[in-house]
């Protein structure tokens, strides 16, 4: 359905594209993270992808680059859809990986980027309010990372010991 849009994107930014596929009917482009904002601005401005449907991430532990941030876009005019993926590298115990925030293009990215930060520890450069959204502020770690054990428990207990 939006194969034409995918071809236009490849023609416009040949150097930004890492790979493309249309498996299961979902047209997908993997782009370099440094070109994210220019590609997204062009997609919204020139191809009319004015609706950010969904923003999430996947942790491919053991693969380099380790993370992928996934954007699902839709054009309200033509109804066509496109998936953009951005690989994000992360060193073993280095700083948190970072990618540009698209909140200036689609305000809908606000909480979704906060959720990805909360769950995967990927920072969004330029996000005005990057706090945890589902977990509490005292939580340590990022639970949807593959190296976060499912059985790990972090109860939030506040006790006042001053009376003892």
């Amino acid at each position: 359905m939006s194969k034409a849009d995918l071809d236009k994107l490849v023609a416009q930014f040949p150097s930004a594209i890492v790979s493309t596929h249309s498996n299961c009917g979902d047209d997908t482009a993997v782009i370099r993270s440094e070109t994210l904002l220019s590609v997204m601005r062009w997609l919204k401005g020139s191809l009319g992808f004015d609706f950010l449907v969904d923003l999430t991430a996947v942790d491919f532990l053991g693969r380099d680059p380790r993370f992928e941030v996934v954007y699902h876009l839709r054009s309200m005019q033509s109804g066509s859809r496109l998936r953009i993926k951005v690989p994000v590298a992360c060193s073993e115990d280095g700083p948190n990986p970072a990618v540009d925030s698209v909140i200036s293009i689609w305000p809908a990215a606000n909480w979704q980027e906060r959720e990805v930060w909360d769950m995967f520890g990927i920072k969004f450069t330029g996000h005005p309010d990057l706090r945890r959204v589902l977990m509490y502020e005292e939580f340590v770690g990022h639970p949807l990372r593959k190296d976060y054990p499912k059985e790990k428990r972090q109860p939030l207990i506040r006790r006042d010991y001053s009376m003892e």
Binding site: V53, T56, D59
Partner: protein, 429 residues
């Protein structure tokens, strides 16, 4: 002197300090006895929630109010986070269905259908699902949509003082849930849909019973509208409150009845028809102003359209199998499991290993009760999802709540929140 008690001097200085910190009146204040001069005010921070009797679900809003006007709002969700996406990575695809029941728990079957369709898209069997199964999915999905809207409209009405409509609508919901209970065995968490079809065929007199219930629901909805549509209190609380424009709604990622209330006719069932929705004649109601009343009216009309779809589906539903006949995807019948070695092994392999889905990724989207319900699945070739992400419509709606309530009164939060229809299970996952 008692230790810790303030000395008389301290008390005096404390009083003096308090006197000094009182608001300074503008020069000339009170001299001309002008009653219209604004009183000096200072902002106050109050907590709404996490446990508030008038809020749906557990959510906390930190409000900065100036008098009755909301100046700032920080919405904090997550109190009902149950690690759905993490748990799903450790469950077989079939075991994820009970978790999806608990996402939007007033329309569980819509979530069931959404997840099943995502898995089927990844398997590449979307076009092989038997027709009868597709019609059954439409039937249970539209019944769930009606129960979802009934709860939303009824509860919001109750919160602005209309208690009787709530009772009538919950009564209708109960009739529909009784019907679903008879069909699926559970009143609320049905887990009725499977990859490749549904768990069981329709019960014998399902069609007639559904028609009877729909007739009763139609009557109840007329009664409800008579009570509240021209009610002064209801209209004053809903009309023109929390207005959002179509452009803003699109920019904030709104979908579902809330987006349609602004006049954007986006409905997944119409724009990207799935299952057999292209065979039904139904309309997509839209609002014009994008206020709370429009969101109410769109939901009321959508229920009527769902009833139209249900009646057409009952007329059209063909006979035939209700699940895909493929031993790699559907469980064998119990008579084979207990009596043949092949059946038993097939059953065992599916329960232990799960349905094997080839590596890949797929995003499947359906029209849920609150908007576009999307499932993004990444498979690594095993029987368990590598990544299962759900695009929860009300999580995305919730992020624009501060925008809606800033500038409104504290009392306006309640109907606004009710019409956004935050479902804690879906928002927090």
């Amino acid at each position: 002197m008692v230790f810790g008690m303030p000395t008389p001097d301290e008390i005096v200085s404390g009083a003096a300090r308090e006197l000094r910190s009182r608001p300074q009146f503008p020069p000339g204040f009170g001299e001309d006895a002008d009653d219209d001069a604004p009183l000096p005010t200072e902002p106050m921070t109050i907590n709404m929630g996490p446990s508030h009797p008038a809020m749906h679900g557990t959510v906390r809003i930190i409000l900065t109010v100036d008098g009755e006007t909301v100046k700032e709002a920080d919405v904090q969700v997550g109190y009902l986070h149950r690690c759905f996406e993490k748990e799903a990575e450790y469950a077989t695809y079939t075991q994820v269905f009970p978790y999806t029941d608990r996402l939007n728990y007033v329309s569980p079957l819509l979530n069931n259908v959404g997840f099943a369709m995502a898995a089927e898209k990844l398997l590449g069997i979307s076009d092989k699902i038997p027709e009868r199964a597709q019609y059954i999915r439409v039937l249970i999905g539209e019944i769930s949509r009606i129960t979802d809207h009934l709860t939303c409209v009824g509860a919001s009405g109750m919160e602005v003082g209309a208690f009787t409509p709530f009772l009538w609508m919950i009564k209708c919901r109960e009739w529909l849930w009784e019907l679903l209970e008879e069909l699926t065995g559970a009143r609320l968490t049905h887990s009725y849909v499977r990859i490749g079809g549904v768990a069981a065929d329709l019960t014998d007199n399902f069609a007639q019973r559904l028609r009877d219930v729909l007739a009763k629901c139609r009557e109840a909805m007329v009664d409800v509208e008579k009570l509240i549509v021209k009610n002064r209190i209801f209209r004053d609380r809903m009309d023109g409150v929390a207005v959002i424009s179509a452009e803003e709604a699109v920019a904030y990622g709104w979908t579902g009845p809330c987006l349609r209330s602004t006049g954007v006719p986006y409905d997944v069932r119409k724009d990207h028809p799935y299952l057999v929705y292209d065979r039904f004649d139904f309309d997509v109601p839209v609002g014009s102003t994008g206020d709370n009343y429009d969101r109410f009216a769109v939901r009321m009309e959508e229920m009527r359209q769902s009833m139209r779809i249900l009646e057409q589906a009952l007329d059209q539903i063909p006979a035939g199998p209700f699940k895909l006949d493929d031993p790699r995807i559907s469980l064998p019948p119990k008579s084979q499991v207990y009596n043949t070695i092949e059946g038993m092994i097939g059953h065992f392999k599916q329960i232990v290993d799960g349905v094997k889905i080839p590596p890949g990724e797929a995003y499947s989207y359906t029209e849920g009760g609150n908007g576009e319900l999307g499932f993004y699945l990444v498979s690594d070739g095993t029987g368990r999802p590598y990544r299962c992400h759900v695009r929860a419509p009300c999580f995305i709606l919730m992020q624009s709540v501060p925008k809606l309530i800033i500038g409104a009164g504290v009392a306006d939060i309640i109907p606004t929140f009710g019409m956004i229809n935050m479902i804690g299970g879906e928002c927090d996952r």
